[in-house]
Amino acid sequence: MTDTPPDQPCQLAPFARSRQIDDWPPSPQRNSGALATSNRGWRIRWPVLDLATCSRCGLCFLYCPDAAILLSQEGYPTVADDWCKGCGLCAAECPKDSIRMGEDGEDTQP
């Protein structure tokens, strides 16, 4: 793979699809925060956010086992496409019901 691992573990590097076996490194060298293969194929549902009712409590960020929910500076969540496995924990635990598990690929922005 040609992309460099991120400096900070919290930064999610864009997922780069490998085409050739030579694209893969000879040894494990990618950090936490990189993704070797996309999780996109794991899910059939995915969280659709309604930011108008969001209270910015951050529980979705807390409970996501895959850290696929990113919080903006203002505290609003976004979903990282390649990372989300569609488990629905964020939607189940959202106290304001601002998250709905919709069709995979449905736009999260209103």
Binding site: M1, Q8, P9, C10, L12, W24, P25, S27, P28, Q29, R30, N31, S32, G33, A34, L35, A36, N39, W42, R43, G58, L59, F61, L62, Y63, P65, D66, A67, W83, K85, G86, C87, G88, L89, A91, A92, E93, M101
Partner: protein
């Protein structure tokens, strides 16, 4: 004090391939957020090493190694002694082992590490069976649970089907041991911080639902983490320097169906089984409260 409101931003366990809604991966993610970069993790064979160390990537952002199944306590001891020999004092040594690797296979190494008073934090994420190898019954499987080796539901002869890890740890006289659940995040985060500060061994036994093995919805992880505590099946206990405390000591419990009803592994439980389970729970709580009184010298 780190709570759910000011959880540190850096992630040290992402990019792993755990199943959707995995409780064990939440335990590792939260713990490493609290402990931060100055930490060395030891993970034995089990789900978290299978999903965290997949070529060409290591999902842990801290130094970490895989231990043999039976050797988590021994490897933790080695790392702790190595750090001590080099004069490094600000690094936490933490182990993440499943219930099989703690209650059954790794119990001897863990006991040895407790006995030597190693400065380490041992976290057992309990999903109540050997999930990584195909959901076989472990020493921590509860009454009535279906696993691939107890397909009709586990029917033990004894009153206490689950090994009581907290009392095993406390019996070693270690400075700190506690139980926690992913359903009560603040309680868990508080206990991790306490355990990391202890001079000597500390032990956390954390309830971590496994949607794949339990046959529950992937989004029920946190809900089950709450209801198992509310039904009294998972007491939140804290053992600190010889004194034991109940973090929650309710006068009455939520009905057991609120916990068992969501899981396919308990589908075979009849009303009589549930009554048995309730009687066992009440007996265990009486013993627990007696233990609290005894430790307080009453």
């Amino acid at each position: 004090m780190i709570t759910i409101k000011n959880l540190p931003e850096p992630e040290y366990f992402v990019g792993h391939k755990a199943c959707g809604g995995c409780g064990g991966s939440l335990v590792v993610r939260w713990t490493l957020k609290v402990l931060g970069e100055r930490c060395i993790a030891v993970i034995p064979a089990g789900c978290m090493s299978a999903v965290g160390f997949i070529y060409p990537q290591m999902a842990l952002g801290v130094n970490a190694m895989i231990a043999p199944f039976a050797a988590t306590g021994a490897v933790l001891s080695g790392v702790a002694r190595g750090l001590k020999a080099r004069g490094i004092e600000d690094v936490t040594v933490v182990g993440f082992a499943g219930d099989g690797a703690t209650a059954d296979i790794g119990l001897q190494a863990l006991s040895g590490a407790f006995d030597r008073r190693e400065r380490m934090l041992y976290i057992c994420y309990d999903n109540e069976a050997y999930m990584n190898t195909g959901i076989q019954k472990s020493g921590a499987t509860p009454f009535g649970a279906r696993t691939t080796t107890s397909p009709g539901g586990y029917r033990p002869e004894t009153d206490a089907p689950k090994k009581d890890l907290i009392r095993i740890a406390a019996a070693h006289g270690i400075p700190y041991a506690a139980t926690a659940s992913v359903g009560y995040a603040n309680d868990f985060l508080k206990k991790v911080q306490k355990a990391a500060q202890v001079e000597g061994p500390s032990f956390l036994h954390v309830f971590a639902p496994c949607p794949t093995g339990w046959g529950c919805d992937a989004d029920s992880t946190v809900r089950l983490g709450k209801s198992v505590v509310d039904t009294g099946l998972w007491p939140l206990v804290e053992w600190e320097n010889g004194a034991v405390r109940l973090n929650r000591n309710p006068a009455r419990f939520a009905p057991l169906e609120t916990y068992t009803g969501e899981q396919a592994r308990f589908r075979r439980l009849t009303a009589a089984d549930l009554a048995d389970l309730e009687a066992t729970r009440d007996r265990q709580w009486r013993a627990l409260r007696a233990w609290v009184r005894e430790s307080a010298g009453m």
